[in-house]
Structure formats: C-alpha cells, structure tokens
C-alpha cells in the first residue's frame, strides 16, 4: 500500500465549530464576570466566588464517580448519596477520636487529623462500594428500571444502618482550630477551609485527568465508556474494570462527604440524599459519562448557587435547575456529549 493511494488528511472541523467545541470552558469565567457585574462590590464578589468554587469542587468530587460509573456500564446509581453520608459519619468519628489533634494549635496535627479522617472514610466507602456493586448492582446490569429501584433500596438500607451505628441524631464536629476563621485580603474575607477545599479539589481533578489520559487503566476506562464490547474483545475484563471504578467512585463520594461535612460542621444520615439533587444536575449538565463536563458543570453550579444566594436567596436552587434547562436547550446531551458506539 503506497502513500499515493491514501491521501493523508486530517479532517478538522472549521474554526468556528472548533471554537464552539471549546466553549464550555469559557462558561466558567463568563459566569464569574456576570457575577461581578451583578454583585457590584469586588470584595463581596471575591468571597462569593471562592465559596462558589469550593462548593463546586466538592460537588465535583462527589459527582465524578457517578458519571464514570454511568458511562462505563450504563448503571444509574441512586444509592450514590449513601456513600456521601457514610463517608461523613466515618470521617467525623475519626475526628472525634483524634480530638487531641484537632484542638491542638499545631497546623500539622490539625491537617493530619483531617487527612486521617479522609483516609479512613475513603477506605470504608470503597469497601462499602465493593459490597454494593457485588450484591446490589451486579444482578441488575442492563436493566435501568430495576437499577433505580434496587439502588434506592440500597440507599434506604444504608441510611438505616447509619441510625443503627450512630443513632438518629445529627452529629456536630467543629473544624480543627487552624481551619476556622478567614483570611482577610483587602476588604474581602475568604474562609480558610474553603481555600483548602479548592486546593484538594484542584489536585484531585488534575490527578484524575492524569489517570484518565496517561495510564493504561485510564485509557481502558475511556475506551470502555465508548465501546465496552470492543474492550472485552481485546482481552480485558470490563466487569472487573467497572468494579474498580465503582469502588473509586464510592471512595470519592466518601471523601466528598467528609469535606462537605466539615464545611457544614453538621451531618445527618440524609445529607447525601439531599446533595444528590445538585450532583445529578451537575452530571446531566456535563453530559453523562464525561469527567470534564462534570467538572465544568460543578463549577457553574457552585458559582451560580453562591451568587444567587447573595442576590436573591429564595431562588438559589431554582437557579441551578434553570441553568440545567438552559444548557440542555443548547446541548441536549450536556456540555460534553459522550459518543457511544452502536
């Protein structure tokens, strides 16, 4: 076969179309600018923006696992919120055990306590994810209606188990000393904990992108989202891959639960279920199965919620649903539609 018979050419979309492809990325700064105009005061705007980014990144952490789980095996997991709640309770329990570390003035001990809480919570939710996948999800592959019913059942069982282990009351834990209070930048006050949340969220997003783009497992996950059958035909067991992704997604939900819990300083067995409304909105906005879309969707929802909470508190939740409607009218499959084979 010679070069002459096959003209090498790269089919690139016209410039205009390619710009539109990249457009979702621009939405985040665009929304921040709109926020600045609407809020008016730069100091207030900075506070709200950091709060919005922190909230968005925490939602991203909780949502990312869900979207990949859906992309890879078409599994709709309404039980995902259970991992958020359980993660929060396990993490808080660890923080109570480590009371000496959290109340110490040492930043190192404070952060170590948070780190330990996160680690134990992620381990616990990963194991719980393992059990959930084997017992609840595996028997209902490919059957959406059953998945909805069965995973909701799993959610209820998990919430009841929280009552059994931790009692029916909500739980309070104060943030460690050094994560309380705010930094003051000029006129703006930025809560320290929110900066930490932004930091963790960004590191996690970068790590996740690295795994998905540059490791063999990541390539297999992306290939599997597009065409699981072909991945099997190449000799890889998609179910085992899926179990790993499911456990990772559950551990991330657990991490999100600890972070969200520390943000609110109060947790309940229902907290996961309540946040799931925002999580589903974010996953739908981003395009089911797309991690990038999920990231941008989460930042948009976080920013918008904080701006509207300040400008018009009554419409905060409605505004995120409005955002979803507008984005779906523009792109019915979400910001980054995932191409599925067949």
């Amino acid at each position: 076969m010679s070069e002459a018979t096959i003209k090498p050419r790269i089919e690139k979309a016209p410039l205009g179309e390619r710009m539109i492809e990249k457009l979702p990325v621009v939405l985040v700064p665009a929304l921040a600018m709109l926020g600045l105009i609407a809020v008016g005061n730069p100091a207030t705007w900075l506070t709200l923006t950091v709060a919005g980014l922190a909230m968005g990144l925490m939602i991203f952490i909780m949502a990312s696992g869900l979207t990949v789980v859906f992309g890879l095996m078409d599994v709709i997991n309404f039980g995902h919120g259970a991992f958020i709640s359980v993660g929060a309770f396990v993490g808080f329990t660890v923080l109570i055990w480590l009371g000496g570390w959290t109340s110490s003035p040492s930043v190192f001990l404070n952060l170590s306590a948070v780190f330990m809480a996160i680690l134990v919570a992620m381990l616990a939710t990963a194991l719980m994810g393992y059990a959930f996948e084997r017992v609840i999800v595996m028997p209902v592959y490919g059957e959406h209606l059953k998945q909805i019913l069965v995973t909701m059942g799993g959610l209820i069982v998990a919430q009841q188990l929280i009552y059994v282990f931790w009692g029916p009351d909500e739980m309070h834990v104060a943030r460690p000393e050094s994560l309380q209070g705010s930094f003051v930048l000029g006129e703006a006050a930025v809560e320290k904990y929110r900066l930490v949340a932004v930091g963790i969220g960004v590191v996690l997003f970068v790590a996740m992108r690295y795994v998905l783009k540059s490791t063999r497992i990541g390539l297999l996950v992306r290939a599997g989202v597009e065409n699981g059958e072909m991945v099997e035909a190449l000799g890889y067991r998609v179910r085992r891959l899926f179990l790993m992704v499911f456990m990772a997604g559950s551990a991330l939900a657990g991490l999100g639960g600890v972070m969200w819990g520390l943000y609110q300083e109060t947790i309940t067995a229902h907290m996961g279920q309540e946040i799931m409304v925002l999580v589903f909105i974010v996953v739908i906005i981003g395009g089911l199965g797309s991690v990038e879309g999920c990231f941008i969707g989460a930042l948009l929802v976080g920013l918008l919620s904080n701006y509207t909470a300040f400008l018009a508190p009554k419409v905060a939740l409605v505004s995120t649903i409005g955002l979803m409607v507008i984005i779906l009218m523009w792109r019915p499959q979400g910001l980054y539609p995932v191409v599925k084979a067949k």
């Binding site: 063999r216 067991r237 084979a341 067949k342």
Partner: protein, 241 residues
C-alpha cells in the same frame, strides 16, 4: 485441507426472542483465508460475534485448537489467540491512533519491528499516529481496526466486511495487506459481500443463508463453477429483492 483450527457444530444463537443462527456447521482449516459469504441478514456477523462470545450460543459447540470455547467469556476467548475486527470497526474515537494500538497489545509494549511492518501495510497508521482516531476517515479507521487486530501475532483473525463502504483503490490496498498477512502463519476468517475481492484471496468458502451454512468448499472450485456461483449468488439476489 489441513487439520481444523476452528470448528462450529450445530451452533444455535438466540438474540432476545429471535432465533438467528439455526445450526451452523463451519470448519476453518489452519492457515490461509476462509471466506464466509451470504446476503444481508444471513447471520454472518452473528456467527463471528458468537465465536467471540459476544453472543452466547444456546446450543451446539465451538472448538478452537481442540479446546471447547462455547461458554468461555469474551476476554478469555480473545486471549486464547483470536482477534476480532467487528463490522462497525470498534475504533475508540476518543483515543489517539497510538492509544488504540497500545490497548490492543495485551502481552506488553508493541514490538517496534512489527509496528514498522504494520505501518508499511497501512501508512495512515504512521501518518496519524498521534491524532485522535475520531478524526480518521472511514477507510483509515478500517485500516486501524485491522492494524489493531494484528499488533501482536494471533492464531486467528475474524474480520467482518473490511471493504464495506470503501473506494476501489482502498479496497485493493486492503486486499494487498490481507494477502501479505496471509503469508504470516495467521489464519483469517473473512466475512465479505464483495465476491471479486473474496475470490482473489480466499482458500475455502462457505455460504450462509437464514442462519445456516448452505454451501461449503474450496474457493477454486466455486470460482470455476459458474453454475454454482449462479445458484448461490442468484439465491442471494432473489432473497435480496
């Protein structure tokens, strides 16, 4: 004809409520190219997918190298030495050409000599090595699909209509590449609609209709026997209209 490499005996496949394969008996000898012909909807793709374990046979047996693979799972069948180029090519468009090739190499890193040989057969695999596979044209995707199947030496390759929708020049190029592949000790089971292409490359031929094999023999015999061709192709045409 040498010893059978792959043997299907009385294979039935159901897809949901439909009874698609109704007792397929097919023998693929070791070495060379076996061609599977048949009109649209005859069950050729279903046969390949059943061999790969993507559909599970409801009865009958499939043996490969003397081993029963009827109920084995797809990844295990693949790792036993069978590569598959599906009808829709199964390219991962979100990945680059290089990444598509890397995933297909399950035994370790791609052997550079073999890669050079593949890129000689299919130049676009070199030209677009770092491009997203989604940007390839249909013909280039087909070449990538075949390249992926041969990135490591395989015992048997199942190829489903590699010339579908391709321009004549590309069909010739693909045929040449398959001829060269035939010279290695890989066996090919080729599903084709293009009889000219199939007869230029095939050693044996089987014809399917309505989920059964209705003819089975040497390609040379079929090429020589215009009456047989007429009967089988005529049948195809009739059923077509």
């Amino acid at each position: 004809m040498s010893e059978p490499l792959l043997q299907l005996s009385g294979v039935h496949t159901h897809i949901g409520p439909y009874h698609i394969l109704q007792g397929v008996d097919l023998t693929v000898p070791k070495g060379g190219v076996s061609v599977l012909l048949g009109r649209n909807g005859a069950g050729k793709s279903t046969t390949l997918r059943t061999i790969m374990g993507l559909w599970t046979a409801s009865s009958g047996s499939i043996t490969f190298q003397g081993r029963d693979i009827t109920r084995m799972e797809t990844p295990a069948i693949s790792r036993s030495g069978i590569a598959f180029v599906p009808e829709n090519m199964g390219i991962f468009t979100d990945l680059t050409v290089a990444e598509n090739m890397t995933l297909a190499a399950t035994k370790g890193p791609i052997d550079p000599k073999r890669l050079a040989w593949i890129q000689e057969l299919f130049p676009p695999v070199r030209t677009f090595w770092n491009s997203s596979a989604g940007t390839l044209s249909g013909g280039q995707k087909q070449m990538l699909a075949v390249s992926r199947a041969i990135v490591e030496s395989r015992v048997l390759i199942l190829i489903d209509e590699p010339t579908k929708g391709l321009a004549p020049a590309i069909i010739n190029a693909m045929t040449d590449a398959l001829k060269e592949l035939k010279e290695t000790d890989t066996t090919i089971l080729l599903v084709e609609q293009n009889f000219a292409m199939a007869s230029s490359i095939g050693d044996t031929v089987a014809v399917m209709d309505d989920g059964r094999i209705i003819h089975d023999g040497d390609m040379a015999e079929m090429v020589a026997d215009k009456e047989l061709q007429e009967r089988l192709m005529g049948l195809s045409l009739e059923a077509h209209q």
